[in-house]
Amino acid sequence: MNDKEQSLLRVEELTILYHSPSGVIKALDNVHLEVRPKEFLVVVGESGSGKSTLALSIIGLLPQNAETQGKIVYKGYNMAELSKEEWTKYRGTEIGMIFQEPLSSLNPVQKIGGQMLEALQIENTRRGRPNKVYNYSTRGIVMTESKPSKDLETKLTGQIRMLRGGYKREALKEVYDWLKKVRIADPEGTAEKYPFELSGGMMQRVMIAMTLSQKPSLLLADEPTTALDVTTQAQILELMRTLMDSQDTAVVLITHDLGVAAQVADRVVVLYAGDVVEDAPVQELFSKPLHPYTKGLLKSYPKGTKIREKLETLPGSIPDLRREIVGCKFADRCQFVNEKCRNDRVQYVEAEKGHYVRCTLYY
């Protein structure tokens, strides 16, 4: 954390509380996190660890009952203080997001081509280009023309007239180019389809194309491949990795699967019950895990063909986050537990260079 200037996103002492009828849930507890430009960061955690809350807080989409404490600093601005209107400027264009279920992220009653055009027109407006803003509707392609403006709200005002000839070709070419970039074999045919006509993998490709056409500096992906098959998952992850590298976009990929982290990450952050328990470069985390939870999690993955031997596992389950926990949240399941763990808030320390851990064994 010495190179503060270098970081693209810095999350400082972030605590998220959900107010629910059954009590206050501490979904994230004093989280520290840093994303450097062009970095592929993977956040790993079980269900209930707060990993989705982390993504939603970074992109400002937390539900009404959430309370935010702490700072989310993106390119020097504290995003936690942005108003709703200011957020519309940054969301999508600076920070993009891909969700787990592409079917619920895409508009079910609009053709793929139309949705792609919508994404491109926002990009054009943002760049202040002489606006050729395209609509892809039942009336055919229509073009909206408006003066260059930084305000996205004005994008829909202006003259609407039918697009033909050169304009049409230009608009379509951009759509096809993006579909080609995400390796959709038949871009012309796909643009004419509705989301339900596509497979899960194809829809996720379209989502990636739409998100990346905004040229965001940071891309959040919340379990983007969990609903997909292994082979499709491999295709999507490879595509993400390649496109990120060529566009210089930083990625925060959220997953429950340590396997995915091992295969694609530059750096891995492990979440447990709202705490960042460990943060290390990928090689180091897997070859030399420090936190007992990370160690246990790694061992619980079946390896090899040792038929009929017992898998190592962790006892118990994650604690109830409505309860105020003073010491380490992992203490009840930990084999190295001692006095220190139960009494004070456990410190987050740099145990080795670039390798952070929240555990009393290391200070």
Partner: protein, 333 residues
């Protein structure tokens, strides 16, 4: 090539021969031809008592339909099945329903446990058609709950009061009450976190040893399949494309699809980054209009002319190792 796949010294516990299950789909118009989804197409295998057959493949490859056809939840369209020496299916006709002898555990405990029923009633349900006395029934329910590590304190609970792992334990307890010989497990750990998954796998292995249970374990998770299975069957588009001992297939796959599937699986080891290096083409085929010839040919990097015209048979390419590829030996030897 021997006809009895996985020939055994004694009698096999379950013999499945040419099992098929097709679904008719509506195609709109009155005079349009009926179309068939060939969900499970001519599948044959044999399992011994106390063994686990792992079934891996992509979604839509027919894994779940296979289980449901074996359990006769779906009436098979053709094929023979012999369970423990007794013919239960002959030429597609059900001869006898093996009541209580075959049980299933489903993927999603939230939708396979009735939310309005208490745990005691959920677990006792398989016993109802067996006409067992009330006292015996109580005992059996308690016994199976204890076997899966849950006590009588769970009797009066509803599924919503349980965690994901506990729900899956209840599903397993329900499958055990009728003391079945064969348990069909349909992705039983896919909805669980890694730690809970390892607890459930340990439980399943322990139960198998204790009661000599036979499992058919369907999963898309290759490392779970490798860990728990004695034999593996790899499904592609409704048929088995490779079958053999887990050891053989894991160490040396003989079908291009299996080989890709293995490389695409994310292993939690950054020193073995095979996933990003693997070039994977295309998408799983449609089961209504499957490709002509080998169903894998549009995605296969080794495709040759013959693959587009002729469907390769499931041949024994090495002792007790079957592969449905014309070029198994050329590619992998």
């Amino acid at each position: 090539m021997s006809d009895a796949r996985f020939t055994t010294d004694g009698k096999p516990f379950l013999r499945v021969e040419n099992l098929s299950k097709f679904f008719a789909i509506k195609s709109g118009g009155l005079f349009k031809e009926k179309k068939l989804v060939r969900a499970v197409n001519n599948v044959s295998f044999v399992i011994n008592r106390g063994e686990t057959l792992g079934v891996v493949g992509e979604s839509g490859s027919g894994k779940t339909t296979l289980l449901r056809a074996i359990a006769m939840i779906y009436k098979p369209d053709s094929g023979n099945m012999v369970l423990d020496g007794e013919t239960i299916l002959e030429n597609g006709q059900i001869r006898r329903r093996p009541l209580g002898q075959i049980q299933m555990v489903f993927q999603d405990p939230d939708s396979s446990l009735n939310p309005t029923m208490k745990v005691r009633h959920i677990v006792s349900e398989p016993l109802l058609p067996l006409e067992i006395g009330k006292e015996e029934l109580e005992n059996r329910v308690l016994e199976s709950l204890e076997t899966v590590g849950l006590g009588s304190e769970f009797f009066e609970k509803y599924p919503s009061q349980l965690s994901g792992g506990q729900k899956q334990r209840v599903s397993i307890a329900r499958a055990l009450t009728s003391r079945p010989k064969l348990i069909l497990l349909d992705e039983p750990t896919s909805a669980l976190d890694a730690v809970v998954q390892s607890q459930v796998i340990n439980l399943l292995v322990e139960l198998q040893r204790k009661y000599m249970l036979t499992y058919i374990f369907v999963t898309h998770n290759i490392s779970v399949a490798r860990f728990i299975s004695d034999k593996l069957a790899v499904f592609y588009a409704g048929s088995i494309c490779e079958m053999g001992s887990t050891e053989d297939i894991a160490n040396k796959p003989m079908h291009p699809y299996t080989s890709t599937l293995m490389k695409a699986f994310p292993i939690p080891d950054p020193a073995k980054r095979t996933l990003l290096q693997t070039k994977i083409f295309g998408e799983p085929p449609s089961l209504v209009n499957p490709p002509k010839g080998c169903k894998y040919n549009p995605r296969c990097p080794y495709v040759k002319e013959i693959c587009r015209n002729k469907e390769p048979p499931l041949d024994e390419v090495q002792p007790s190792h079957w592969s449905a590829c014309f070029f198994s030996k050329e590619i992998f030897d």
